[in-house]
């Protein structure tokens, strides 16, 4: 039978405000447990929440960037449930009037565009962190009250790869907006997935499972892949998929049942009386709209138009905001009209250096000016492409400039025919067989001769020049 997966993603995002959503405590990560708390985020009796305006701005900013409608009249609600990491035993969240809803995000899947609907994006407060010891559980409330944006997608995603692309595109936008660190390891971005399968062509949804505990985008992809196969297995064996929450086991690489949702939770949502409803004015929305930078998709299209790059290449260059700014600086300053060469440098050697060092291009500390200087040497055929790559590595390691390294290592290519003449003549003399082969039309023999000349020049001869010299010399003879 032919099955289709139906996937919806819920992304929880820490907004990177300096202070928490409803009090003045710091949101810094990784400090001494319970060192960033106050009566408000501890839910002490008598304390009251006051909305952090920056969190609201960030939420609206994100909503707008995700093409959402912004709710003008809005409010907070209380979501009531008991859990020791939730000091008030209710969470300030949004129920029926989220700040933003009905948006979308465009992704690319196997070269084809696909639009994923965004159901809603709402603001809420994060809970604390439980640390389980042998016989006790401890609570760290530092995280309690950090502004959290919950972004819920429509069930428009049909494969683990699409989920991966959605998350990548979302993260890219969020980075452009500078509203979140999007660091899954630190928990500043968390993703839960709802997944069901159905026969292809069937309209009705199958019974879904909710997947939790994925700690990377790849983890999301793997968990979804596992779950699709598991659910197909269940159906093929004639059984029914049950609605449940399943945890992704990062060691065993499988999902395991956490709890069944037989008793549906009743959160008894009601309007938060401590925070009066309010209006987000049209002017405010317009003002925030203005502050939104050019987003990855627009930038990609502009790079295609302005620099004549392919959509694929441009797409790679715009994935990260800071790297895209770096790339643009290089592309603009690159003297040739054909920008392909510098783009190749960025996508090729530079990006692979960055990946090797678990950094981004900006993190390599090679200024665009430095890169262009290096590429200039190659373009003027003063150094070989190969030695240029080595120079780049050295530039990153030593923070020295390209010309200094080239000079130090004496890498300038010999393109002067006069200086190369002796080596060419020697190579011809010493390799009569290859000369004969070449004359009989074996082109490989010419490359062998070029190699011999290169050897004699200790690699410094410009191979193109050598090749031309050999061709001319052998044609004469």
């Amino acid at each position: 039978m032919n099955y289709e997966a139906v996937i919806g993603l819920e992304v929880h995002l820490h907004l990177k405000t300096k202070t928490k959503a409803f009090c003045g405590c710091s949101t810094e990560f990784g400090n001494e447990p319970n060192s960033q708390v106050c009566p408000v985020c501890l839910g002490f009796p008598g304390s009251l929440p006051v909305l952090n305006k920056v969190a609201l701005d960030y939420a609206i900013r994100t909503g707008l960037a995700l093409n959402c409608k912004i709710q003008e009249f809005t409010k907070f609600d209380r979501k009531n449930y008991f859990y020791p990491d939730l000091p008030k035993n209710y969470q300030i969240s949004q129920y029926d009037l989220p700040f933003s809803r009905d948006g979308f995000l465009d992704i690319n899947i196997e070269g084809k565009p696909k639009r994923i609907g965004i159901t809603r994006a709402h603001l809420e407060e994060d809970a604390g962190k439980l640390i389980h010891k042998e016989n006790t559980s401890l609570v760290d409330f530092n995280r309690t009250g950090i502004p959290l944006l919950e972004i819920v997608s429509e069930p428009d995603i049909n494969s683990p790869q699409e989920a991966y692309e959605y998350l990548t595109a979302l993260k890219s936008i969020l980075e452009y907006l500078e509203v979140s660190d999007c660091d899954m390891e630190k928990g500043s971005l968390r993703c839960d997935a709802n997944i069901s399968i159905r026969e292809k062509g069937q309209k009705q949804f199958g019974t879904k499972a909710e997947l939790k505990n994925m700690n990377s985008f790849k983890g999301v992809k793997d968990a979804l892949q596992f779950e699709i196969e598991r659910q197909i297995g269940v159906l093929e064996s004639g059984e029914k998929v049950i609605q449940e929450t399943r945890l992704w086991d990062t060691k065993e690489l499988k999902t395991v049942s956490m709890r069944t949702k037989e008793e549906a939770k009743d959160y008894r949502y009601f309007p938060e009386p401590d925070l009066p409803p309010f209006i987000i004015s049209v002017e405010k929305i317009a003002e925030i709209k203005k502050s939104i930078p050019e987003l990855p998709k627009e930038k990609m299209l502009r790079f295609v138009k302005e620099f004549g790059l392919s959509e694929y290449d441009a797409g790679i260059l715009v994935a990260s905001r800071r790297d895209s700014e770096y790339a643009e600086e290089c592309l603009k300053a690159y003297p040739s009209k054909d920008k392909k060469a510098i783009a190749n440098w960025l996508i090729g050697p530079l990006l692979s250096e960055a990946n090797n060092r678990n950094s981004n291009i900006c993190g390599l500390k090679v200024l665009p000016k430095g890169l262009l200087e290096l590429v200039g040497f190659v373009d003027r055929q003063e150094i070989s492409h190969l030695s240029a790559k080595a120079v780049l590595t050295e530039m990153i390691d030593s923070a020295k400039g390209a010309s200094a390294i080239i000079k130090e290592k004496n890498l300038i290519q010999i393109s002067d025919t006069g200086s190369l003449n002796a080596a060419v003549e020697e190579a011809i003399k010493e390799n009569a067989k290859s000369v004969a082969d070449y004359k009989q039309g074996k082109l490989n023999a010419l490359m062998f001769l070029v190699g011999q000349v290169m050897k004699k020049s200790q690699g410094k001869a410009n191979p193109k020049v050598v090749q031309e010299m050999l061709k001319r010399r052998l044609a004469d003879a």
Partner: protein, 485 residues
């Protein structure tokens, strides 16, 4: 002369003429409490050596320099037990002062190190629902002082307090003020910061003064009113000098009498006191006219839906995890230790009425019932508010009885919550519509129990309340009478 008998403004005069010192007042008051509180029980935890409230050195010309203020047990005082007269908050010492406490300290007032008794979490109209046992009415120790701020009202009435703060969610300042023959004001919602008031029903709660006369009430309001950046529901409305409203006459003032407040259930003796008071106001130059507040009959049911819904959520935090009482040796049968700790802590920590309201509030918010109860109640709340808006288009204020009866006997209604709830029938509407209301003494029953007159005005119309209340007070003897203890 017994200093504890005086009002705040009388003491301020003596202080400024250096006739007395603040220590004199404090000593006199402590002596009085020691003598009479074993009978009245206005204060809680009196057996424990009081922790001194942290002081702030105020300037010499500060408005309330040297005047002791008694605080209800649900208003947070830094380092001083604040337990809402509930077992579940046993030992809770807030690490911070409520905004009103901060303001009082800055004004030079000294915060009494004893807190006043109340119905547990302000759930009640008699102060019988206190973990510490009931407070008694100073006029008749067999009677309740009203509630939930019964401790504050009884303390002021028995001269165990110079002035006090209470909180009012459905009448909890005004009804005990009426029962104890003192002045109680519930300010406009948003007039006084709720920061540090342990919430009962957030959309209805307000802190307000309970005092011996209206002048003290105005003095306190001058201090505690105003916008607070820590309370998003506090209003950015300027605070006038309320003492300027004192001494203004009420000639030509338009006063409305809602007919729905003078029907069955109103005690005839209370009724005649109110009618006399209305006549007095007429004599003093006010224009009196009967009006209708057609949705009045829905106030009690609407209130018990909204207030319990909010309370069920507000009280969820009392779970034994961070502070207060935690049940030890939880039975852990099949449940997780955590769940049985929650259950035992809340089961043993809350009293009957608190449990009743938590269950009621949880029910009305439950899936499938929300629309029928909570949402509907919100709509009717709007209608009740619109009733008042319409009247205030034509009238300056509304006058009603504060409560349908004078103080009742201890134990008389405690087994019958519905009858108990009806003692707030005249006060609840002001909370639902957010308007200010004051209760002033206006007479006594044959059994020498005080009767209170309620005056209501439009939002932020406290000046009108003071104007009417003060004029009435200056022309009647009621506020001067004190119980013999």
């Amino acid at each position: 002369m017994e200093l504890y008998k005086l009002t705040g403004h009388e003491l301020l005069k003596k202080l400024s003429s250096k006739e007395i010192t603040s220590e004199d007042i404090s000593l006199a008051l402590k002596k009085r409490i020691k003598e009479t509180d074993p009978r009245v029980k206005a204060y809680v935890r009196t057996d424990k050596s009081g922790t001194e409230a942290k002081r702030i050195e105020a300037r010499d010309n500060s408005a309330l320099k040297g005047i002791p203020v008694s605080i209800k047990d649900n208003i947070c005082t830094d380092g001083l037990n604040t337990e809402c007269s509930s077992r579940i908050l046993t030992g809770f010492k807030p690490p911070y002062d409520a905004t009103v406490i901060k303001k009082l300290k800055v004004s030079g007032a000294s915060i009494l190190d004893l807190k006043t008794n109340m119905d547990e979490f302000a759930f009640g109209s008699s102060t019988e629902n206190s973990f510490f046992g009931p407070t008694r009415n100073p006029w008749n120790l067999e009677c309740v002082p009203g509630g939930s701020s019964g401790g504050s009202a009884a303390a002021v009435a028995s001269d165990e307090a110079i002035m006090a703060l209470g909180s009012d969610t459905g009448g909890s300042i005004r009804q005990p003020a009426s029962f104890c023959g003192v002045v109680g004001l519930k300010p406009t919602y948003g007039r006084v910061s709720r920061y540090g008031l342990i919430a009962f029903a957030s959309s209805l709660d307000q802190i307000g003064p309970i005092t011996k006369d209206t002048e003290d009430s105005a003095l306190l309001m001058n201090i505690i009113s105003g916008h607070d950046p820590f309370d998003s529901t506090s209003a950015c409305v300027d605070v006038p000098d309320y003492t300027k409203s004192l001494g203004m006459d009420i000639k030509g003032l338009k006063i409305a009498i809602p007919k729905e407040y003078f029907v069955e259930g109103l005690d005839p003796q209370v009724k005649s006191s109110i009618e006399e008071a209305i006549n007095e106001l007429k004599k003093l130059g006010a224009e009196i006219k009967e009006v209708s507040l057609p949705h009045s009959e829905y106030a009690v049911p609407v209130y018990y839906i909204i207030a319990t819904a909010e309370a069920s959520s507000n009280l969820a935090r009392f779970d034994g995890v961070q502070y207060g009482f935690r049940a030890e040796d939880s039975r852990s049968k099949d449940e997780s230790k955590l769940i049985s700790m929650y259950k035992d802590t809340r089961g043993q920590g809350f009293g009957q009425e608190a449990k009743r309201r938590i269950i009621l509030g949880t029910f009305v918010l439950s899936h499938g019932y929300y629309d029928a109860y909570y949402l509907r109640a919100l709509k009717v709340r709007t209608l009740i508010k619109e009733d008042f808006d319409a009247v205030f288009k034509e009238f300056d204020c509304i006058v009603t009885p504060t409560a349908p009866t004078a103080a009742f006997k201890i134990g008389e209604k405690i087994e019958d919550p519905l009858r108990m709830y009806l003692s707030d029938i005249y006060t609840i509407s002001a909370n639902l519509s957010g308007i200010p209301a004051i209760s002033v003494p206006c007479g006594f029953t044959k059994n020498d129990l005080p009767v209170g007159l309620q005056i209501l005005a439009k939002p932020f119309g406290e000046e009108t309340l003071f104007r009417v209340a003060h004029t009435y007070e200056q022309n009647t003897p009621w506020h001067k009478r004190r119980p013999t203890l």
